[in-house]
Point group: C2
Chain length 542, copies 2
Amino acid sequence: MASPCRDNGSVNRSNVRPIERSITHATVAASAPSAAAGSSDFLQLRIEDAPAGGRSVWLARELRRAIADGRLPVGSRLPATRVLAAELRVSRGVITEAYRRLAEDGQLAGRGRGGTVVVAAPVTTAAKGAASTPYAHRTAAPSAAPPAPATAAATIAPSAAPFAAPPGPEIFDELRAAPARIDLSPGVPDLSAFPRTAWLRAERSVLAGLVSTELGYGDPRGTPALRLAVANWLARNRGIRADPDEVLIVAGTAQALGLIGQVLHHDGIREIAVEDPGSLGARQHLRHWRLATPPVPVDDDGIRVDALRASGARAVLLTPAHQFPTGVVLGGGRRRELMRWAADGGLIVEDDYDAEHRYDRAPVPALRSLLPEQVCYAGSVSKLLAPALRVGWLLPPPKYRKALVDAKRFADLGNAALPQLVLARLMESGELERGLRLLRRRHRRRRDAMIAAIRDRLPDATVHGAAAGLHLTITFGRDGRRASDTDLAAAALARGVKVQPLSWHSQRPSLPGLVLGYAARTPDEITEGVSVVGEALSRMRR
Amino acid sequence: MASPCRDNGSVNRSNVRPIERSITHATVAASAPSAAAGSSDFLQLRIEDAPAGGRSVWLARELRRAIADGRLPVGSRLPATRVLAAELRVSRGVITEAYRRLAEDGQLAGRGRGGTVVVAAPVTTAAKGAASTPYAHRTAAPSAAPPAPATAAATIAPSAAPFAAPPGPEIFDELRAAPARIDLSPGVPDLSAFPRTAWLRAERSVLAGLVSTELGYGDPRGTPALRLAVANWLARNRGIRADPDEVLIVAGTAQALGLIGQVLHHDGIREIAVEDPGSLGARQHLRHWRLATPPVPVDDDGIRVDALRASGARAVLLTPAHQFPTGVVLGGGRRRELMRWAADGGLIVEDDYDAEHRYDRAPVPALRSLLPEQVCYAGSVSKLLAPALRVGWLLPPPKYRKALVDAKRFADLGNAALPQLVLARLMESGELERGLRLLRRRHRRRRDAMIAAIRDRLPDATVHGAAAGLHLTITFGRDGRRASDTDLAAAALARGVKVQPLSWHSQRPSLPGLVLGYAARTPDEITEGVSVVGEALSRMRR
């Protein structure tokens, strides 16, 4: 009928019911009040198990566990806070705080008079994930992996497969499919914050006003509405002045790199320099489109422009606002050097992937704003809203404008119209910026939680690039006693925590390290995830 | 703020008002009843101008004109039928019928107690179109074109530019942008029938049940929900048994052809035979992706398999259910011959672009159902719902499955998730099939109107391929007196009617002819459009 998730949803909606209680602590049973419409039975909660002063955390964990193992299916209604507080004989604040944690996690939602409802099961549970992914068959020898800790042993199929060989074209699909309790992969914002209501409202309004011909074949550059909205957005947020006619709407940065690869190749350019370390995914895309990707080192000031010049490359892919994965911001001197290189004929592809997520101050202006003739600018909503929207934009330099429009036409005739029109409304109404402000605050709290957890559980790790973005990078130094970072990532995954090894993103030998996304996880998950990485590291060192 | 259309909508929504009446026939003024909340003034309607027995048609035309020239902007409310009938002293049926015609056209919608509201302005009006299209600057010498007829002279900028040179890669964008009162381009269903309400309802339900991770990066093959829905759809409607895991969701048939082109090229295949005549657009896409397109003739039984075999091509692109543009159905003998050719190692790319639109009997089964190993099947919702959705599907033959998934991954990481999930709901709920049944009836009436008009206004034209689909083709025979079909198309466009010349779709010399879409236009527009083509032809013959 639909995806497993959809199924889950619909089955349970037809089956919305108060949660059963099998039994439980006597106190709870005795005090179950009739006011909790239908909530007279509840999970086997034993408040004595909760540590003093940590009851909210304990309750949140118990609820998460119940959602994960299906005792609280999607669609279930939780007892009112007042009712559950009375049952467990704790203050109502304890319950409220636990619900809040799961709401922030996107697993619970308040439904007004409908109460608090389970709206999402967690990322992946092993039974489902392992059975349904292309990656599962590779986990035939789980005995080689270290045993998972007790809390996860029952639900996580240990596996190191994504890290067993050099990463191939399917690596990100495999890693995504690998079962894990806590996913600290970089590159994804807090998806539970996706503005579902605003999106739907904007779509209703778009559909009501739509002219029928807008549902036909359209301009391959994108709808005029979104091109205008993006031009305005870039002026407000990135210091870029662009005419809407210069904007090319694309299906995310991945497609942008493919189109650029085709056009450069056609122009006789056979290689594009990349930062090292730099995004493995971007490199894979460029190589698929027949461009070599010579590495240029990155230091604390960003890309080494002297090395870029020495490489002889005519084009370079950069992440100047928040270098991926190190998080370095391109320094002022380097910017000037780079502009000189470009003015001499070099082409810069500026991947501005998460520039809007800056915590300490306003983001640095885009390179595009300095030298439009030599900069091909790429942005997307993947980090602003959700990768699944597959919407991004390019500001091509004039010499490649026509070629890129042709490439987009022959790629897919242009993006779908409805989502473009909805997005244009959210951008022009200010709704997207409001959402971004909230998101930034939330992401910042999560970043702080990750830094604290690293200080606590990985005290000899060095943290890089935490002033902006959705991820940070840690390195461990070279002391010879440690295994490779792919082994560490494999060991963490075997314990149910997903991270990316820094070496994936490095073309030349690098310090061992991990790239850790924090934006999509709650502080509790982050703390637990980092702690699991710490355990894995300790065990490897023994 | 948004597209011209969007702007239009929002401006007028903030400005919803009853329609003004400047003045009008005395009778109308005298009988204006106060019950028509706010409708006491109305357009300058002179019922004496209406031909006896044709009052509905006359009123519909007057209303269309008022919408086109802005006197009835989007958002305006029309008087109640009862009220207007009284004002004009005609029967209420006359008004109802006129409103119905505009509703079918997508320009009016009933809004329950909100009355009947203008919801869409017509396709293009010259002032806007000419100023906003890349094509406009090419119309500098309009004096060369014949004058437009009186009814259109004021609003249509005459131009033959899209037909002035051999069609290049931008030809369809240019033709789309060219201003016209009546667009008889093929390939678009009745877009006013797009199920906006059902779409929004399904989207609400999808958003309510969505798991946050579904908003992240996903499976490049598409969401499991849509792959399952497509597999079920193909089983029910096209006689194809496919596992959901075989389905690859793509951004329409255009993208499908690009992915296939890349994969075949990589496999050492440098040419793919195509039907002649056959789709110009498909040929452009394949050539862009570095495949030559040797022509194989089509006769009344479909592609000449002997000629295909003689061509030596290892692959062929076919439209067996309803050949584009001739409308021929591949005959039984030819199917068997073709299957032998494929069994000998030939690869068939089956473009099943409008197979669901068959009027006389059930559609012929897809070739894919006969020989899955040698057939790469492509379908899309462009003719079922709307091209602007940019959703289609491929069933690759096993040998190219992995390569096509990789090609899709490196094209754009997979289609956007939300529209896939919404579409899956519409398919699985039966809503899409219900819509298709209604659409078929409506399209059939429009086809009949077109055939009648051709018989009446183009009596020496031969009609081809009208048993199915969204278009038909007419040819004129070779009698030497006639100009080329591009000249005829140019003359029609100069008179405000958009058609495609058959020669665009022919690689070898063909009879002069036109490809005429009827699905997206009302019977009145079709009659008028064909009549304009007839006038243009008569004038060319003089």
